[in-house]
Amino acid sequence: MKFAESDELLLEREAIYFHYCFFRKEELSEEVIARYVNANQMYLSSINYQKINSIEQIINRQLDVEAIEYVFRIINRKNILTTKIQILFYLIEVRSQYFEYFFNCRADRLRALASFTHSLLLAAFKFVKGKYLIWKYDLV
């Protein structure tokens, strides 16, 4: 099935925006973008983007994708937004550039505990923010 150029462009914009939201300091390689597009074309080709409006809205309005994904994941673990971000994460975690995001290379209990505390507080904030954004923009 040949993909419309507009769908490919949307997928590229997804990859770029999702990556920016989580790995601001890193440059996203063209290779990863192409693989992201391929993976989506292989496995998520049946998505009706008119029915699932959230992805285009998130990108166009530069919304907090982490907050929205968090709430969607709580409601339905297998939702499309989570699946798309998971695809991106699979593609970037196998690159050395991202190694230290995922693996702790030095023992630092204090830093670890501080990070955990921050994560717990962030969870509450992101949940409330996600719920608000979903309501405000009627995201599906």
Binding site: A39, E66, F89, F103
Partner: protein, 524 residues
């Protein structure tokens, strides 16, 4: 005409053929082989840190590692690009219809043992109490296997369950998490033993020293991605040795469909997968070792029986994560293993028969496999996984498989295996473990435990059980199928019961025993 035909090249088939060397034996097999595995030479973490891009070996050009995003969940190991051959075409060559069974099987050369955890445990008389075979009869075969494949471990607190073995190689090094766990258990040994809990070193078909032309284990943590790691035993090594010495004949690319017994021979019909043609092979004896489900299917199909229900035994499993708070924030242990680190046995009043569990680390799979199952927003999950991975372990608990009326297999006229099974009420030994391990600083909680579907443990057995006086769809003590003179069953299908121990070592030993008997009938 051949002396014997062996169907399948997994642990049972390989060791049946091993015993039959010296006769004119043919092995028929589908026999998918692993691809070359470039890009995975060396420690996985050193590679991931130094190689710019490991897309091909870790994700796959067809995005094999993304399998569970769009398909029924399979074991994380089986979806890796270089390991996906292990279950290639399993659901097209021999479809399974089931609402709640998560098992898969293998048409690879070597079978599911290409991706096994390598745990090897001798069945004792307690494990064999329902079998018409005693431990003493299996003992010589366990001994021969141990010398052949090389087993590492220790005669420790688990000796009463695994037996004394004077040929064990030094045990593998274990992780900091497991070392600490074992040390704390030993300090409170009396308390644990009073609860019926025993902890010790795993017995693994893995070489801690060079052995029989295979090199010792290198702690590169590649088990989730790389096939045929030489130090980890695979029946393919034995099979390839036999083929090199030309002591058996081997034909791959054949799917055995049926057999028919005549007065002096058995005729086996097998479909050649490339041409689609059905070919006929004749032998004096037939040994079915195609894996329990497929062996059962061959027998039922050969009898054109679409009604009979054959019992299905399977080990229900529970996955219990554990956290050691004191290790939170520890640095990554670069050298290590994804194999079971320790074994925990419960032998107390709450269970009939002992319950065995293996403790695993959490460094094996890709992070993205688990990141989205954690309870925080994504950046929190990344941080949690990063700092907690050295302080967490997963205890995989195997319960004994009990015969339950609702658990059975049959075939339908469309050629599919129908598997019916029902989740059973388990005695919740995980709660016993949780309460006990808390005392040594290892924490878990009921809501964290996972209860995978039946079949997930890949230990199914019992469809054609061995009995002292068998009847239809049962086998005698030597694996001979009731109603036949020359058809034998050598894989897990002939198991009478399913203790919680990994059954592979006993499948190998029993298969050798059966094949030895077959050889004696051949006059060999």
């Amino acid at each position: 005409m051949f002396d014997a035909i062996v169907v399948g090249s997994g642990p049972a088939g390989t060791f049946a053929a091993y015993s039959l060397q010296g006769t004119n034996t043919l092995m028929l097999d589908v026999g998918y082989r692993p691809p070359a595995s470039p890009g995975l030479d060396g420690n996985i973490f050193k590679l991931r840190k130094s190689e710019e891009d490991l897309f091909s070996p870790l994700i796959g050009k067809d995005f094999e590692s993304l399998h569970n995003l769009y398909n029924r969940n399979i074991s994380l190991k089986l979806k890796a690009p270089y390991l996906s051959y292990v279950i290639k075409d399993w659901d097209t060559l021999s479809p399974v219809k089931s609402d709640n069974f998560a098992g898969v099987y293998s048409f690879a050369k070597g079978g599911l043992a290409n991706a096994w955890g390598a745990g090897v445990f001798r069945f004792n008389d307690s494990d064999l109490r329902d079998f018409p075979v005693k431990a003493l009869e299996l003992e010589p075969y366990y001994e021969r296997l141990a010398s052949h494949i090389g087993i590492c471990g220790l005669n420790d607190d688990l000796e009463p369950f695994f037996g004394y073995d004077d040929k064990l190689m030094e045990p593998l090094r274990i992780s900091r998490f497991a070392t600490n766990f074992l040390d704390r258990y030993r300090n409170k040994r009396r308390f644990f033993n009073e609860q019926g809990i025993y902890v010790g070193r795993n017995r693994l078909a893995v070489l801690s020293d060079d052995h029989n032309h295979r090199k010792a284990y290198k702690y590169e943590n590649l088990e989730f991605f790389k096939p045929c790691i030489s130090a980890v035993y695979n029946p393919v090594y034995t099979l390839d040795e036999m083929l090199e010495k030309q002591t058996i004949k081997y034909l791959s690319g054949y799917l055995v469909v049926t057999y028919e017994e005549h007065e002096t021979f058995v005729e086996v019909k097998a479909r050649h997968l490339e041409s689609g043609a059905v070919e006929s092979f004749k032998a004096k004896k037939l040994i079915l070792a195609a894996g329990a489900l497929n062996t059962a299917k061959i027998v039922l199909t050969s009898n054109e029986d679409y009604e009979s229900k054959l019992q299905l035994l399977d080990n229900p499993i529970v996955v219990m994560p554990m956290l050691r708070l004191g290790a939170y924030g520890s640095e990554l242990e670069i050298e290590g293993s994804s194999l079971g680190q320790l074994v925990v046995v419960y032998d107390g009043p709450l269970a009939t028969g002992s319950v065995q569990a293996s403790l695993f680390g959490t460094n094996g799979p890709l992070r993205s496999d688990v990141l989205f199952d954690l309870p925080l927003p994504l950046s929190g999950n990344i941080s949690l996984l990063k700092y907690a991975s050295q302080s967490t372990g997963a205890l995989m608990i195997f319960y004994p498989g009990r015969p339950i009326k609702e658990n059975y297999v049959k075939i339908n006229k469309e050629g599919a295996i129908e598997v019916h099974c029902k989740d059973e009420e388990l005695p919740k030994i995980e709660n016993v473990f949780m309460r006990a391990f808390r005392k040594i600083g290892y924490y878990s909680a009921s809501f964290l435990c996972q209860y995978p579907k039946m079949g997930t443990g890949l230990h199914y057995a019992g469809m054609l059980p061995m009995k002292e006086t068998p009847c239809k769809y049962e086998t005698d003590k030597m694996g001979r199928l009731f109603g036949t003179s020359n058809v034998f069953v050598a894989d897990g299908a002939c198991f009478t019961a399913l203790p919680s121990k990994n059954l592979t070592f006993t499948i190998m030993a029993n298969s050798m025993r059966i094949a030895d008997f077959v050889k004696s009938e051949l006059g060999g």
